[in-house]
Amino acid sequence: MAIIPGVVASSISGHLITGNFSLISQTTLGSSTSSYTFSSIPNTYSSLQLRLNVNDDSTGATYNNFNLYFRVNGDSGNNYYSSNIYSFGSSVNSQGASQNVYGTIGNIGYANASTQFTGTVINFADYANTNKYKSIQSMNGIDFNSSGYGFVVAGYSTWASTSAINSITVVPQSNNLAAGSTLSLYGVL
């Protein structure tokens, strides 16, 4: 299938800074680690967006399909509720978890961690409001390099606490976050 010539927007320049979306903190892992924590998150934004391009560091499999979790403020109590709809292979399914010790972001896949990663966007709405529980929305997915497998996940979690969120920890269900994984936290005004 050939591309029919059309409009070309070339020589992109003149960046406009809107001031409504700010990078709070970012890392690209130099080596595998069991989890990563964003701490001392300021309470001056209306919401947070966490963007991940991560994988686990397991080896020897064509693909893996583990959960990817988050925990806020170091809370290890049974205060997380999660639901999601997902596909793996040719079927669409849903799952839920209540009174869990982690919130579920989605899944994390291995398809040779040195070559590709799982993309994820997570939104923490009204994260500094101390009058309600916190709502977290996420989407993530990966295609396992034409192996015939991959997954996509659309999820929702509640953290049953009225505290403002001041730290977020990302942790895989199994293995470690692989070297080369990039984790970025943004504040939205």
């Binding site: 960046h15 809107t18 963007r51 292979g89």
Partner: protein, 163 residues
């Protein structure tokens, strides 16, 4: 101190064209977000995406979607493009919305793009979430959106953001 980001790099009206290319994309961001609101001259054809002009069989797609009362999932291997929807673009005045998150677009690994599509088609459309893989390991410096048939109509607008 936080760094301001989420910068609009370019916006294009795609009226009368079957494709649009964002080229000379700068490397100073972590991710890209491509958002477009599409209207087509013929209903039901798919908008597709390629990176860096690569027309080889270097893409694969994993998708789940809902169409009417049914849900389904599919996986395509060794394709020549990124699949970003399930139902096809509708005709005026119905506009379809496509949001594409391109992660770590300058790194030396294969690239992952998450695509969300909403295509109501006046009670006959689809919603979908797709994970695309491009096996290219070069930085993404151009993105082409094209229809597999027909052309885009007036009021079709695409914006590329740097994040």
């Amino acid at each position: 101190m936080a760094t301001l980001t989420y910068v609009p790099l370019a916006t294009q009206n795609m009226s009368g064209s079957s494709s649009i290319t964002f080229s000379s994309i700068p490397t100073g961001y972590t991710d890209l977000r491509l958002v477009f609101s599409g209207i087509a001259t013929i209903a039901g054809y798919n908008p597709l995406i390629r990176f860096n002009g690569d027309t080889g069989s270097n893409y694969s797609n994993t998708q789940m979607y809902a169409n009417g009362s049914a849900t389904s999932a599919q996986n395509y291997q060794n394709r020549t493009y990124c699949l970003i929807d399930a139902g096809g673009v509708d005709t005026s005045p119905n506009a379809s919305v496509y949001i594409n998150e391109i992660f770590s677009y300058t790194n030396s690994y294969r690239k992952t793009m998450l695509s969300y599509a909403a295509e109501d088609q006046n009670n006959g459309g689809a919603v979908s979430l797709t994970a695309n893989l491009w096996r290219g390991t070069s930085a993404i410096n151009s993105i082409t959106i094209y229809l597999n048939s027909g052309t885009f109509s007036t009021n079709t607008v695409a914006t590329l953001w740097g994040i």
